[in-house]
Amino acid sequence: QAPAPYDATPQLVAAAQKEGKVVWYSATDVQVAEKLARAFEAKYPGIKVQVERSGAERIFQRVNQEYGSKIYNADVVETSDAVHFLHFKKQGWLQPAVPSDVAKFWGKDYKDPDGQFAAYRAHLSVIAYNTKLVPKEQAPKSHADLLDPKWAGKMVKAHPGYSGTIMTGTQALSQSPLGWKYFEQLGKQKIMQVQSSTEPPKKLAAGERPVMADGNEYNVFLLRESGVPIEPVYAPEGTPLVIGNAAILKNAAHPEAARLFYHFMFTKEAQQLNSDVGGLRSFHPEVKEKAGRVPLSQIKLLNSDPSKLEAETIKKKYEEYFGT
């Protein structure tokens, strides 16, 4: 059962200030995470945020390592792979807590029923193209378009074996009406494989490939906003939504500061910053998307259930179709 929601009361602030520090294991982009930390420090003077930024899988592994060795460094943890939190929860490492904003605004799909974690951020795994290399009219409009032979040898894509985002996306797409058949056909398109979901947008930007079959939406945003000619495509078949959760750890060394910071993470202020600087999607209804970004509400989303994820099968099937 979820505990009662809590606010950033003066008592909590005082207790947190007494602890003076909070350690945040984050998979968010460094620049975004650093900005968020500074914002928190500005708002609650006397509490330092120590950002331990790393890739999602690294954080997962590190928490596993540390808890396996009874080291309790982390106060708040946050990764972009929803499945990690199921694991943490199963291990009993999470401290239930429900910030008031989460209680008020978050839909039930986006928070743990037991209040142990909530969706801190989300991003999409989108199709995109380089507008300089592909005129808008000729650009692919859907997943089905990608199977057109004219894109053979011209697409880049990330690998589910290395990227949680793509793993989630692959799960979502394979469970959608497109099914595994889509991947089987896509596998014949001589696709350039990269590891991380952050890389395909960069390949587009560099002009190495004109089209990406999947990859992070927020990278596309950030690149586009810095002037790179790339454009995301929201396919009618649906675009996989990838949720990044956050949670307080049970054995946090700074429990009060953790609570305060955890609360802060879900405030409009923080969420807006995530969106503006990081290009991330937020479940906070008051967050305003930057101009030129298609709002979440206008996109057909493909949700996936992390508890049903069969990573091994997906990796195996993928290797069968794509050869790596």
């Binding site: 390592q65 540390e66 060795s69 499945v83 694991h87 949680g164 494989q193 590891q195 560099a206 190495e208």
Partner: protein
Amino acid sequence: MSVALPDAPVALARPHFRIDLLRPAAYVLAAVLVVLVVLPLAWLAYYSIVDKDGQFTLANFATLLTDKPLRKSFGIAVAMALGVGALSCAIAAPLAWLVARTDLPGRRLVRALVTASFVTPPFLGAIAWEILAAPNSGLLNVFWRQLTGAQPYDALVNIYSFGGLVFAIACYTFPYVFTLVANGLDRVPSDLEDASSILGARGWTTLRRVTLPLVLPALLAGAMIAVLQALTMFGSPAILALPAGFHVITTKIWSLFQYPPKPGLAAAASLPLLLITVLLLQGKSWVLGRKGYTVLGGKSGEPRVTRLGRWTPVGIAFALLVLSLTVLLPYAALAKAALTRNGVDGLTLHHFRFVFFEFSATRLAMWNTFLLGISTATIGTGLALLAAYLVSRRPVAGTAWIGMLATAPVAIPGIVLGVGLFLTYSHPQLMLYGTLWILLIAFLTIEMPAGYQQLSAAFHGIHPELEEASRILGASRLKTLRLVTAPLLRTSVIATWCFVFIGTIRELSATILLTTANTKLVSVIIYDLNESGDMGAISVLGIMLLVVSFAVVVLANRMPLLGGPRLPALR
């Protein structure tokens, strides 16, 4: 008739009483190596044979044998590593010769540049090469298309290929071979070459039959390091192998750490690499055999310098080509990335401003990096010197396995080693995690093989009688090592120091598991920035590393600490 000799001073009658510290030193070193190497290895071995619940199992090894993709990735990795070894030798040996034994203009600069270029983290090099030689966007290909008017999507070079990967790795492993061979060449007494030429051997024959065989130990040691580094390298394959459509063993292992993690299988998969190391070591001693590599008291110091004459342009071209491919072009690409912004025309100092003033981690990371670099280099060189001495001179029984121990870490992929080290040093009783100490230990472990191989190759060139001459006069082994051997090995000791220093600075795969906010290092920052695609900042950091390391390398070579600058027999 016995005459009393009152005037014989007592001080001379008997040297001061002195304990031979070597035996204890050997034990201490053995203990240190055990701690550095055996602990994490034992952890690996243990994890490979237990399942989740701590029960004994051979399932991991069964998987290793039956899993076809895994086996295939092993095969490719071995082929790649051998390719890298061969290519490294093919580049490094001629270049080392040009630099050490010819009148090539600017050879000192070439030498310093090669060593410094070495500072490039391989994955950064791979990124630079992506910028240069990706089939479509690669600058070289773009340039080529402009030049020849070839069709879009036609490519001159494709870095995303097996060959491209081998090349990109060799760019950053050949300095091992280069430094070892160049130092070896410095030590070949000119008498031996003179003896060959007076019998009628042309320069080339002398080189092939006398000079090169004499640096064979160095060449083999270098090739071995190159091969093993390639085998366990993660960064470059991660960036280049997947787009090329294949896996190597390290990228496979990496994916084993993904959810659901299989550390047991990852551990098991690294053990065959250990086997390969042992085989290579064995092969090396088999090749060297009973042959001698040392000569004593060769007259006349100056190694013979070959006049290139009309071949000078060829020599320059070759050196320039190698430097271009390994240093100049990649850094030009990085410089371009550092000075421009995506989609914005013109030059900008934005990235520099960001790295130096906005990015909070930079200063701390720089400090940590150089602090660790210098301390690891100093301690590591000392340990490697002692280990190489113990193994090559066998003063204490049973030192042979020290060599094995000191070389073993090279076979373990950094990430696996990182996990092992983490588990070893994060107990409530021994809590090093989160401090710089664990990084120091990690670096010492990781850099031990290169340092050890370098110095043990160098010991092949020092005649034991030079040490004996010191000992019979009353110097203990350690003192002899310090006063006689180390100064004789001056260039090698300094090169080892630089190796370790640079290796430390560019190390990533184990580091990334062991750093925390207070112990951030530059390589980790670069890696993090890479995830967010911040090429500009990465390039700035990369260039900064190069510049600082270059300065350190040059300084280290000027250090007068080991013997004077005037060393005719050694140069």
